[in-house]
C-alpha cells in the first residue's frame, strides 16, 4: 500500500501536529515501509483464527469500588503547560 501526501496530511490533522514538507516526505516513506512490512502477514491464511485483541489469556479482572487517595492539586497541575488557580489552562475552545 502506497501512502500519499494527502494521507500524511490527513493523519497529521487528526493528530493535531504540524509537519514541514521535508517531514512529510520522510513519513511517506517510513509509513509506506511499515505498511508493506505488515502486508507480508497477509500471506498467512488466518481464516479459522479468531481475531485477538489481547495477548494475555485472562478475562474479568476488576477492582472493588474503594476510594484511594488522589493526587494533591499542586502536583496534579505540575506538568501542565499552563494553569490558573485550581484549573488547567488551555487555548480557547469554541463550539
Amino acid at each position: 500500500m502506497k501512502i500519499e501526501q494527502k494521507d500524511i496530511e490527513y493523519i497529521a490533522y487528526l493528530s493535531r501536529i504540524e509537519l514541514s514538507e521535508n517531514e512529510k516526505e520522510t513519513f511517506i516513506h517510513q509509513l509506506s515501509d511499515i505498511l508493506s512490512y505488515i502486508e507480508t502477514l497477509n500471506r498467512l491464511n488466518t481464516e479459522t483464527v479468531e481475531p485477538l485483541s489481547c495477548a494475555i489469556n485472562t478475562t474479568n479482572v476488576f477492582r472493588e469500588d474503594m476510594l484511594e487517595p488522589s493526587t494533591p492539586l499542586k502536583d496534579a497541575l505540575l506538568n501542565a503547560p499552563a494553569s490558573q488557580s485550581v484549573f488547567f489552562k488551555v487555548p480557547k475552545v469554541i463550539e
Binding site: L14, S15, R16, S53, C54, I56, T58, T59, N60, V61, F62, R63, E64, D65, M66, L67, E68, P69, S70, T71, L73, A76, L77, N79, A82, Q84, V86, F87, F88, K89, V90, P91, K92, V93, I94, E95
Partner: protein, 478 residues
C-alpha cells in the same frame, strides 16, 4: 407538504459508584476542581486502568432492565479524538462488542402502551469539564478533570419516536428505570443524566429515513422537547424550499431557544476505534446474569399496574406515586401498617408533595415516617380530629417531625364531641345574634352556615362539625 418526524435519543447517565471507572478517585460532585484526579484519570504515560466491578455490574443491570441481549464476550475500545476535556486524547468506550444490544423499553403515551427499541447499552468514561471565562476577549478556557473518568452509561435508542409526547415519556420512563435500579442518581442539574436527540423528517408514508441532525447541549427535559420542535420546523421549512438537509450536529441555545450548526464533525471512522490493549475482556456467563436478575427490583411500569389492580387507584394517582421510587416505597410501608390505600394515596400525592415542594424538602430525607403517617390516618378515622385539623397536624408533623398524637395533645386539637359543651356554645351564639336568627326564619338558609362558622371559630375548628350542624338546626327550629 406533510412530514413525519423521526426521533432517536442518546442518553448518558453517570453511574452511582463511589470511585471512577478505572481508578480509585472519588466521583463526588462539587468538590474543589482538580482535587479528585490521579495519574490514571489524568492520562499520564505508563498507567494502567483497572475496571471498577460495581460500575460494570450497574451497566449490566441497566442493560438487563432495558431487555437487551447481553453480549457474552465484551471488551473496550479506544475512541480517539482531540479535545481539551479528554486528557488521554482517547476515550475508553465500547464499539465492537457493546455490553447490551437489541433491547426495548415500554413507555406509556396518554394511557396507551408503546415500545421503543434500544439499539445498544454500553459503558464508557466521562470527560472533564470545560469552563469558559466570561471576561470579554479571554483567549483561554479552563479545565476541571474531577469528572474525567467517572463511569458513564450510554443508552442508544432506535429512531422509533414520532413526536415530543413520546420523547417525553421515553425520557421519564428511562429516568425512573435508572432510579429504581439505583444505578444513577439521575440529577440533571448536576449533569448525571443527559440527552442528545437526533431528528430527521420524511414525507408521510415514506419508508426510507431522511438525513438526521444531532442536537447537543440539552440541559433539561424541557429543552430536549423545545429543541425537537424547533428542529422539526427548521427542517420542514428547508425541505419546503427544496433545500437538502445536511447531516450535521447542532448546538441548542437555551437562552434564545434556537440551534446553531456546530463545526463540522469528524466522521465516525476518524475516531479510529481499536481494542483497548490495557483492559482485559469481560466474559459474562448465565450465572452472573441470573445473579443480577435476582437483585432487580420491580420496575416502575409493573409497579404502577400492580397499584392500579390491587389497590384500585387511578391511572393518574398511581402515576404520581411511582414517579419517585421513594414515594412508592413510602406508600407501601404505610399500607402495611393500616390498610387504607386510597387515604394514603391522597395524603402522599396531595399534602405530602405540596409540603415537599413549598418547603423545598429533599424527598430522600422526609421528616415524616410511614408509621407517623399511618397513625394520623387512624386518628382521623376514629374521629378524634376533623380533616381540616388533620391538615394542620400534618403540617406540624412536617415541621417538627413529631408524632401526630403528641401534636394533638400539645396543641389541644382533639375534636370536641361533648354534646353539652357544644350545646352551651350554641345557646350563647344564638342569643348573641338575634338578627341572623331572624334572617334564617325568613327563609335565608345560608344564615345557618354562618352560625356554624361562628361555633367553629369559637372552638378554633375543633368542634365536631356534623354535631354542630345537627344541634344548631334543632335549637333554631324549636
Amino acid at each position: 407538504m406533510e412530514y413525519e418526524v423521526v426521533i432517536g435519543l442518546e442518553t448518558h447517565a453517570e453511574l452511582a459508584t463511589v470511585t471512577k471507572l478505572f481508578c480509585g478517585c472519588s466521583t463526588r460532585f462539587g468538590s474543589e476542581p482538580n482535587t479528585q484526579v490521579c495519574p490514571v484519570c489524568l492520562g499520564m504515560p505508563g498507567v494502567l486502568p483497572v475496571m471498577n466491578r460495581k460500575a460494570f455490574e450497574y451497566a449490566l443491570k441497566s442493560a438487563i432492565a432495558l431487555n437487551c441481549k447481553i453480549c457474552e464476550f465484551t471488551n473496550f475500545d479506544r475512541k480517539s479524538y482531540y479535545y481539551p476535556d479528554l486528557p488521554k486524547n482517547y476515550q475508553i468506550s465500547q464499539n465492537y462488542h457493546n455490553l447490551g444490544i437489541d433491547g426495548y423499553m415500554d413507555i406509556s403515551v396518554q394511557g396507551r402502551g408503546n415500545r421503543v427499541r434500544i439499539h445498544n447499552v454500553h459503558l464508557e468514561e466521562e470527560a472533564g469539564k470545560l469552563i469558559h471565562p466570561e471576561e470579554a476577549g479571554a483567549d483561554y478556557s479552563l479545565v476541571d478533570f474531577n469528572r474525567a473518568g467517572i463511569p458513564l452509561l450510554e443508552i442508544v435508542s432506535y429512531p422509533d419516536m414520532r413526536n415530543v409526547t413520546e420523547v417525553e415519556s421515553y425520557m421519564q420512563t428511562l429516568r425512573k428505570i435508572l432510579l429504581y435500579t439505583e444505578v444513577s442518581d439521575c440529577k440533571m442539574q448536576e449533569g448525571s443524566l443527559r440527552f442528545e436527540a437526533s431528528i430527521s423528517l420524511r414525507k408521510k408514508g415514506a419508508d426510507t429515513l431522511g438525513n438526521r441532525v444531532e442536537i447537543k447541549n440539552l440541559n433539561s427535559m424541557k429543552s430536549v422537547l423545545k429543541a425537537i420542535d424547533y428542529e422539526a420546523k427548521r427542517q420542514a421549512n428547508s425541505l419546503d424550499r427544496g433545500e437538502p438537509i445536511d447531516r450535521e450536529t447542532r448546538l441548542w441555545d437555551e437562552v434564545n431557544e434556537k440551534s446553531a450548526r456546530m463545526r463540522s464533525k469528524e466522521e465516525a471512522q476518524d475516531y479510529r476505534y481499536f481494542p483497548e490493549p490495557d483492559l482485559l475482556p469481560v466474559v459474562i456467563g448465565g450465572k452472573w446474569i441470573d445473579a443480577v436478575k435476582m437483585t432487580m427490583p420491580e420496575l416502575p411500569l409493573a409497579r404502577k399496574q400492580r397499584f392500579m389492580e390491587v389497590f384500585k387507584l387511578s391511572d393518574y394517582d398511581t402515576g404520581q406515586l411511582v414517579e419517585e421510587k421513594i414515594l412508592a416505597d413510602f406508600f407501601e410501608d404505610c399500607i402495611k401498617i393500616v390498610d387504607r390505600p386510597k387515604a394514603f394515596c391522597n395524603w402522599i400525592t396531595n399534602d405530602l408533595l405540596r409540603e415537599v415542594n413549598e418547603r423545598k424538602l429533599d424527598i430522600h430525607h422526609l421528616p415524616v415516617r410511614p408509621k407517623q403517617m399511618a397513625a394520623l390516618v387512624e386518628i382521623i378515622e376514629k374521629g378524634t380530629i376533623s380533616s381540616t385539623i388533620a391538615k394542620e397536624v400534618f403540617s406540624e408533623m412536617i415541621q417538627t417531625g413529631k408524632d401526630p398524637q403528641a401534636i394533638i395533645e400539645e396543641k389541644k386539637l382533639a375534636q370536641i364531641s361533648d354534646e353539652g359543651l357544644i350545646e352551651a356554645l350554641i345557646v350563647k351564639i344564638i342569643s348573641g345574634n338575634p338578627a341572623v336568627i331572624e334572617d334564617y326564619k325568613k327563609g335565608k338558609k345560608n344564615a345557618l352556615t354562618f352560625l356554624v362558622g361562628l361555633v367553629m371559630k369559637e372552638t378554633k375548628g375543633k368542634a365536631n362539625p356534623k354535631m354542630v350542624n345537627e344541634l344548631l338546626q334543632k335549637k333554631i327550629d324549636v
